[in-house]
């Protein structure tokens, strides 16, 4: 959360000689992060990020308090100015007010009645400061509540006193289906158990800590006001605010737990402003219900704990100085000490590590040395998948593949909704399911490039998510690729080259399946186990392949087995065969290979109509084959081919 405050406002509570730029720099190093400093006329505007645990800094006074400790660490002069002590005339008899509090819901309530409001116009200085902080100015009465909140850090509220006929505030939890009309004229149904203020008759007259209601809001006819401060249970405030979507500044502060001690300062500051700005007079005493005032929490730790976490030794004096500057109490017992936490920091300081943080940040993280740790190095993962994954990607890169990353979240059209994980709160119907295949994503990716006329090959390695009963899904790492503007043989050749380079033995088996052009889909098997598939997709006509990465990793070899280089030359010859239509080239090649151990390689070098030219190499590792020996093998092969497939020789 961010807070914007003018430099001039900060100086009301901070006495310093540091420039706005320096204040910004020093605060960012040791405290809240000053994101921007902007010149505003003769003034400067700070835009400060305050982390959610430090709601105590969400005010002018809160920033001044931090600055007063941090700035002197850099040699700048800075002291915190106290709140003005006001001299108020409380009346002898108070206008009546009954507060029926509930300690489970609110920690503290404070109220005071003011009458005789003379001026409703907000003075310029107040308007300028509020608007710089991003708060719209309405009228003096409302603006005072926002001014006090921004300055002190505790949200405040104002009722039209006369609209609370019963003069009673009953704090209770909302019942089922209770409705309120907020001051901005919107109707909300409250979640059950919200904190509400009832006037004792069953009518809700406020949504405390979040927003006022229409039935008691100050208006043009208001004569007397009840200035009211409530310190509520943050968890309840958050639940109501999140459920109804009423995200006021007050709600975002209250849900983080505002210090109830601040209520008194806010009350006094409010009274001062009402008197000064509106000319109102007090019509009651301060009604204060605070059943369990803050008692300081304590944390005990050793100085060596601080030294160990910081990595340097900090003197006892320095530790004590830093903590007392921050309003912590310190009591030593030899090397141990007990820290008492001031109410303002009770929200975020609870354990020894929190104390370490306070000492370390004021000491200055920038003043700590920078060194690598020594000590033992853990055993690396024994069977890490990562080297194989990058190895495979590099092979594909070498085969002119272009790697892409596509979204894991897909539409219901890209999965079988019955067997895919669904997202309960998707951003849109395009990203509603966890994908179970990379194919639809890659098809989309290929189509995205339909302006491309040259061949291309896109590939991706990513998880698919296969649901399991009552457990996290299986996240299966897949490799898939898609080819466009190319032919079957070129695409298939790349898949073959990939497997060759991984030194995986494989065979193809034709097996038609949905989404593929008939007769083009191949199962890829290794040791009779399916490891992948390849084929032409009906949709778009792209060639597509996919493998389970773990299937490949289990059987790949980083290095092939060395094969003796033949000492004797091979005999190479081209044979052209005429094949009937139904004959598969793969079967011919397989038959040639399996017919003689002397055949060392068979390549298809040419295809023309039904004529196929094969280049056959004959090789004997022990000797040079004679023409006669080659002829014997050839005759045997051709005989077999004729018998099995009825081929003729051209």
């Amino acid at each position: 959360m961010n807070i914007q405050i003018l430099h001039s406002w900060l100086l009301e509570y901070l006495d310093t000689n540091a420039s706005p730029a320096k204040i910004g720099e020093y605060l960012s190093l040791c405290g809240p992060s000053v994101e921007k400093i902007e010149k505003k006329g003769n003034d400067w505007l700070y835009d400060i990020e305050v982390t959610t645990n430090r709601v105590d800094m969400m005010s002018v006074y809160g920033i001044a308090r931090e600055a007063a400790v941090i700035l002197p660490q850099f040699g700048a002069k800075a002291t915190l100015k106290p709140f003005h002590s006001i001299k108020s005339q409380f009346p002898k008899t108070s206008l009546p007010l009954t507060i029926k509090s509930n300690d489970k819901l609110v920690k503290r309530t404070m109220g005071v009645i003011l009458t005789d409001i003379k001026n409703w116009k907000t003075p310029d200085w107040m308007k300028t400061r509020l608007e710089a902080s991003g708060i719209r100015s309405l009228n003096a009465v409302i603006d005072i509540t926002n001014y006090v909140m921004t300055e002190v850090g505790h949200p405040t509220h104002v009722f039209d006193y006369d609209l609370i006929k019963s003069h009673t505030l009953l704090i209770r939890e909302s019942k089922k289906q209770e409705k309120v009309i907020t001051l901005d004229n919107k109707v909300y149904t409250l979640p059950i158990g919200s904190i509400v203020i009832d006037d004792g008759t069953g009518t809700i007259i406020d949504l405390p800590g979040i927003m006022g209601t229409k039935n008691t809001v100050v208006n043009d006819d208001t004569k007397q006001v009840l200035f009211f401060i409530d310190n509520n249970d943050p968890i309840k405030i958050r639940k109501t605010s999140m459920t109804t979507g009423i995200r006021t500044v007050a709600a975002t502060l209250n849900e983080k737990g505002v210090d109830a001690e601040l209520a008194r300062i806010a009350m006094l500051r409010g009274i001062e402003l009402f008197q000064e700005v509106t000319g109102a007079t007090l019509a009651s005493k301060i009604y204060d219900h605070y059943s369990k005032p803050y008692t300081a929490k304590t944390i005990t730790l050793s100085k060596s704990f601080i030294d160990e976490r910081l990595g340097v030794e900090v003197s006892k004096n320095r530790v004590e100085q830093i903590l007392t500057d921050l309003d912590f109490g310190v009591k030593w017992n030899k090397d141990n000490f007990t820290v008492s936490v001031p109410s303002i920091r009770a929200q975020d300081v609870a354990i020894a590590e929190d104390v370490v943080e306070e000492v370390a940040r004021i000491y200055g993280y920038h003043n700590l040395p920078s060194e690598l740790m020594t000590g033992k190095i853990p055993e690396p993962l024994s069977d890490a998948p990562f080297p194989f994954e990058i190895h495979t990607k590099r092979i594909l890169q070498g085969l002119s593949g272009v790697e892409t990353y596509t979204m894991s979240l897909v539409s219901g059209k890209e999965v079988d909704p019955k067997s895919a994980l669904k997202i309960r709160n998707p951003l849109g119907s395009d990203n509603e399911y966890m994908r179970t295949s990379l194919a639809p994503s890659l098809m989309k990716a290929a189509k995205e490039n339909n302006g491309e006329k040259d061949p291309f090959h896109l590939f991706e390695m990513a998880n698919v998510y296969l649901p399991k009963k009552k457990d996290l899904p299986e996240e299966k790492m897949m490799l898939a690729g898609i080819f466009a503007n190319t032919g079957f043989r070129h695409a298939k050749g790349i898949v073959e080259s990939l497997l060759d380079q991984l030194h995986i033995e494989y065979v193809f088996e034709i097996e038609d399946a949905m989404y593929y052009v008939p007769n083009t889909r191949l199962k890829i098997l290794s040791s009779k186990k399916e490891i992948g598939r390849f084929g032409q997709l009906e949709n778009g006509g792209f060639y597509y392949y996919q493998f389970g990465i773990e299937d490949l990793r289990k059987i790949y070899k980083q290095m092939p087995t060395y094969v003796q280089i033949p000492k004797y030359p091979a005999q190479v010859e081209d044979i052209t065969l005429k094949l009937h239509e139904r004959i598969k080239v793969g079967d011919i090649i397989k038959t040639i290979y399996t017919n003689s151990s002397l055949v060392s390689s068979v390549e298809l070098t040419d295809m023309y109509e039904n004529a196929y030219t094969f280049r056959i190499s004959y090789q004997d590792l022990e000797k040079t084959l004679t023409d006669k020996e080659v002829e014997e093998v050839r005759t045997k092969i051709l005989g077999e081919l004729k018998k099995k497939f009825g081929v003729t020789i051209k």
Partner: protein, 341 residues
């Protein structure tokens, strides 16, 4: 003798290639192939050899003669055409089609390499994760305002009794307690790189992105060690001139928590238009919260640690100063984009 012949051959070929005037070729022809040429001179020794060797030597001699003659002819032709002076070397080369690894892959490799050198083990934990690992174990109970920072996707699946709802992990921090449990006893030096998801999308945020999470747990781990690790990464990943600094921040799962800045790549810390007074934000870090250690099964009174988790895409674009205007382009499959890297 065979060696002599080879030497003569090499010498002849070298000389022929040097020739620029065609008349010199004739001189060389006589010097090597003529009746009293160098080859014939060597041939005179042939009669002293065994018949078998003699035949073999004769064959070699013929091959060499052929090669020299061939070269003489070729050189003569090329001098005649004078191709050397009209050859146009400005003609573009024909490039093979080359492949490309994605930016994110390149980034992950580089990041892994840097941390590997200081003993970090790369791991990868689930993307679809239990609420417990993503939030609960990290000291963020349900309804905690700190959860607002992580806009999370929830799965439409039944809630698990102990582990809570199934979510898409919004950060790699969910790997922290998983890694502690895997190793059981420190030392832990993890670098967890995985896909993460957040329910947001604009020109600076992606629904799907990658994070890398460093986690170190051991005896006596201090802020000094975190600073050392951050500086080591900055020097080795971004360049030797770069420095880091840490500033106070807040995360539920670290105490203290830090925001990490690095000196700006353009001005190197002097301050310029592209940075904040010389610094740019890198990401979050902190000392592991004792509750997180406890949830990971590690005794926080004996051990301490630090952690950091940053976006891969952001860190890499910062390094390379790619200035990609819209981070959503990272996940486009447009070849005109992919082929640039």
């Amino acid at each position: 003798m065979r060696e002599d012949i080879q030497t003569i051959k090499n010498e002849a070929l070298a000389q022929i290639m040097e020739v620029t005037d065609p008349s010199e070729l004739e001189t060389l022809r006589i010097a090597y192939l003529g009746r009293n040429g160098k080859l014939n001179e060597v041939m005179r020794g042939i009669k002293d050899l065994e018949p078998e060797e003699r035949r073999e030597m004769g064959q070699t001699m013929n091959e060499v003669k052929g090669a020299i003659e061939q070269e003489l002819i070729y050189r003569k032709e090329s001098l005649k055409n004078n191709t050397t002076s009209t050859f146009d070397a400005t003609v573009p080369g024909i490039k093979p089609q080359i492949g490309h690894l994605h930016l994110v892959t390149q980034a992950i490799e580089e990041i892994t390499d840097v941390f590997k050198q200081i003993g970090f083990t790369r791991v990868r934990y689930p993307e679809v994760e239990w609420d417990w690992y993503a939030f609960g174990a990290l000291n963020m109970e349900e309804g905690h305002p700190a959860r607002d920072d992580w806009e999370t996707f929830f799965m439409d699946t039944p809630t698990h009794k102990e582990n809570g709802e199934m979510v898409l992990t919004p950060h790699t921090s969910s790997g922290q307690t998983r890694e502690m449990k895997r190793l059981q006893t420190p030392p832990v030096r993890m670098i967890n790189i995985a896909k993460c998801y957040r329910r947001q999308i604009d020109s600076r945020h992606l629904t799907m992105f990658h994070q890398f999470e460093g986690l170190v747990v051991d005896k006596g781990i201090s802020i000094v060690h975190l600073k050392g690790t951050l500086d080591y990464f900055a020097r080795n990943f971004f360049g030797p001139n770069r420095k880091t600094r840490i500033r106070p921040y807040h995360f539920q799962f670290t105490e203290p928590s830090f925001e990490v800045d690095i000196t700006c790549g353009y001005c190197l810390g002097k301050g310029c238009k592209l940075c904040k007074e010389g610094w740019v934000e890198l990401g979050g870090a902190g000392m592991v919260h004792p509750i997180v250690l406890k949830n990971g099964g590690i005794d926080p009174t004996k051990y301490s640690g630090f952690a950091f988790g940053w976006g891969v895409e952001r860190t890499f674009t910062m390094k390379s100063e790619l200035s990609i205007p819209d981070i959503r382009m990272t996940y486009s499959s447009d070849l005109r984009f992919l082929r640039q890297f």
